[in-house]
Structures are given as C-alpha cells and as structure tokens.
Symmetry: C2
Amino acid sequence: MIQRVILSEQVKEELLDDIMAGRYKPGDRLVESQIAKRMGISQSPVREALRDMVAMRFVEVEPHKGARVRRIDQREVLEIYPVRACLEELAGQLAVAHAADYLDDLERAIDRMTKAFSARDVRTLAHWDVVFHRTILEASGNQILIETWNSLMIEARTFVTLNNLISRAPEIDLAGRHYPIIEALRDGDAVRCGQVMRLHVEEFGDVMRGIFHDQEAPDQTGEPISMSDADVAIAPTAARAG
Amino acid sequence: MIQRVILSEQVKEELLDDIMAGRYKPGDRLVESQIAKRMGISQSPVREALRDMVAMRFVEVEPHKGARVRRIDQREVLEIYPVRACLEELAGQLAVAHAADYLDDLERAIDRMTKAFSARDVRTLAHWDVVFHRTILEASGNQILIETWNSLMIEARTFVTLNNLISRAPEIDLAGRHYPIIEALRDGDAVRCGQVMRLHVEEFGDVMRGIFHDQEAPDQTGEPISMSDADVAIAPTAARAG
DNA sequence: GCATAAGCGGTTATCGATAATCGTTGACGG
DNA sequence: CCGTCAACGATTATCGATAACCGCTTATGC
C-alpha cells in the first residue's frame, strides 16, 4: 500500500502516468473498485482522484455509469490552436513589461530544445517547449490568464502533438522558431511580441492541420489521436495544472 | 433529506446558492460534517461537492485543514477582462460563419436586458447579459473556446460585477451596447465583429477599473469584492459550467 | 521564565459495507 | 422471429465509523 501525504493525490498521479504512458487507452473504463483493489486501498481516494481528473479533462464520467479515459479527437487538437494563439498573443504583450526577469529561463529552454531536437528526444523536447511557453505566460503576470492557459492542459497535449509532428515532419526546427519571441521581448516591443507569439502558435496549428490532412487520405478517416501515441510517459509532475 | 438524482450535485447547487446569496461569505469555512448534518446526509456527497467547487474556483482547500469560500479580490476581477477580450474577439470572428442560427436568440437577449434595465432588475440583467455572450461563444462552434470561456465562471462574476456597476454608474445603457455586435454579425464582417466584441468587453473592464479607483480613495484600500455584494441569488442553474 | 512535549477538541482522510442504479441476458408471450 | 420485461451481475453512490492529522492548550522539565 502506498502512503505518503494525500492518498488521492498519489492515485491521481499514478493514473495520470498510466494514461500518458498508454497503459490506459482513450475510451478505456476506469473502474473504481478494480483500481482500488489493485492499489490496495479503498474506493474513496480513487473516486476523488477520478473526479479531479474530470476537472482536468483527462477523464469523463456519466452518473451511475462510471469513468472512462477521454478521447481526444482531431477536431479538438485543431480547435485548441486558435485559442492558444489569442491567449499567448496577450501573454506576449504583457510579458514585455517583466521580460528581464525571465530571459535567462527562456534562453535556457531554447537551448535544451535544440539539444533534444538533435538527439531526437521528443519527450525532452516537448518538456522544454512547454516550459518556454509557460514561462512567457508567467511573465505576463496575469494570474487569470495563467490559469486559463493551464486549463488547456497543454503539457499533456504537446507531447502527443510533437510526437506526431516529429515523425511526420522531422525537418522542422522547433527550437529555432522560438528566437523571434525572445528578440521581441528584448526590444521591449509589446505589440510585436504578441504578434510573434500568435504567429508561432498558428504555424503549429497549420502544420498539424497539414499532417492530419495528409494522413486522412491513405489512412482511415477521423481516426482519434490517442494519448498512447506516446511511447514514453511524461512525468506526472509536469502534467499537473498547479 | 433531499433526494432526486445525484446527491452531491444537489449539495453543490445548494452550496453555490448559499455562496452567491452571501449566506457564506468569502473566507468562511465550509465544514464537511456540519454541512452534512444540516442537510441530513453523510459526509461523502458534501466532500464531492466541495471538490467540484474547488475545480470551479469557488472554494479553496488546504489538505487536512478544510475548505473555505474563495476570496475574489479586485486584481482578479480586473485581470479577467483582458482574457475575456481576446477570447471573445476570437468568438466574434468565428461566430460570423454561423450567425444566422443565433440572431433571434441574441436579439431576444438584448430585449430582455433592456426590460430588466428599465426595471432596475440586476439579477435578470446579468442573466441575459451572460446569455448573450454565451450565445456568441456557442455560435463560434469551437468547443475548446467554449470550455475555456466557461472555465472563467463568468456567470458567477457578472452578477457581482453588474451589481457594482449599476449602483455606481446607473446611467450606462448595458443593453444598447450589444447592438453593434449584432450588426457586425448581420453584415458578415468577421474582423469587425471580433473588434466590436473586444471593444465591448474592454469597455466594461475600463468601467470597472474606474469604479475600483473611485472607491479606493474614500474607502479602505484593496478591500476584496465580496460575492455577498449580491442581494439576490443567481439561480444555481445559471451558475453551472455545463 | 521559557522551550518543549503531551493531551485534547475539532476536522479531514480513509475505510468497509450497503443501497441504488445500469446494461444485459434470457424467459415468455405474441 | 421479435419485442417486452423480470432477474442478475457489475458498478457507482452513499453511508456510518474510524484513523490520521492540525492547531491549541496545558503540563513538564530545565
């Protein structure tokens, strides 16, 4: 039996880990009693963990019917980019005011991305990509904006997305595309920084749309993108909304 | 003992109602056992309801220390407007494509707002204001955008905000300010519609900032805005994120 | 006199058991 | 053969009780 601080938190981390690693696939049922038995605990903490994961949008429940891993379909992946674009444009504008405190972190993030890119290490690449964007959000200083962005669960989706991206378009220099953002921050040009952020996000959206479009012709249509496309798990720490 | 479908849902509604009506004030403790006893039920559904309300950002909990009604401060109220502005700008742009199906609803909402405004019925005014904006969001057709906007819990905040607004600036014609949006939708001009939406939201933000600024001089500084400024409760139905 | 520890009241976190509910299976009648 | 419905198995929703924990008060030792 696991035991450290809050049991339901541990259950949540473990389940999140399982989902990310593909041990649970989208659509799979998450049966409270089974999970409880497997972990050697009672139903209550499992139930709470599942509830939290519903709020995080990883899981969906129907009353009296139970929980399942939520299915992320193509439409959803594509719909997120316009929303990210406008949120991150705003973040970019606001971040200029406090950029000085974050430039080092941002540069480090790009550096790590570059290294991960050469090593073809998608997991690490995704991690530092998210760190970069999250840092900009934090630099915005608008707490509501940060929370709203967090609610999009971008860390969870980025890994899946990048996996897809790298395998289909391995030539794209992910890391390098972040430099214009840093430059705009350095110049203190809020409007341009916003524009650059927006463009950056929209470009990704376009690339993803292209990928989906390509794979629709030969492949089956509308195949849902599975979280289990991941072949390595994101550390659950990186998946929490904070 | 109440009993209809899901107990924890009922508890949630009741507690939400209590908070909105000011029977619980920000900072008040929400003791599971007391609530359970008062409602004649066990602790579990109360606990679940509280968890949900944490996700909704109405309540905050510290492990082993319990739940309290979350305090909404001035900064938070003001920070929301830039975020709403960019989300609703996007919604406005996207809504043009499907405007036809929603024009009637939108006009009806303005109509009700006008009536409520003459009657000085803030509760109804807030309700239809939210309906109007929500309808635009729905017309956008972007599910992620809708969910993101919902996560801002605008219905809950609008009532408080409008109460504040009406009492401080009773001359402002809330309802009329929505017409330019409908016109842009009718014209099918996506860019203008987005701009108008953005402007509409930003104007509100400015008005609120002015109000806070005014009341800071005579009053104490940084006084948190209490949900209990409301003198009538919003029907809990209108407060659900759905 | 002060720091530390033990005890206590109040509350949350977890447990194990039970009631309520759902989907399915299979009998029954048409 | 097909539709209806009752009973069953599986699972969730809820319960009542207990263990773990926090903050505070009071006792204890130096």
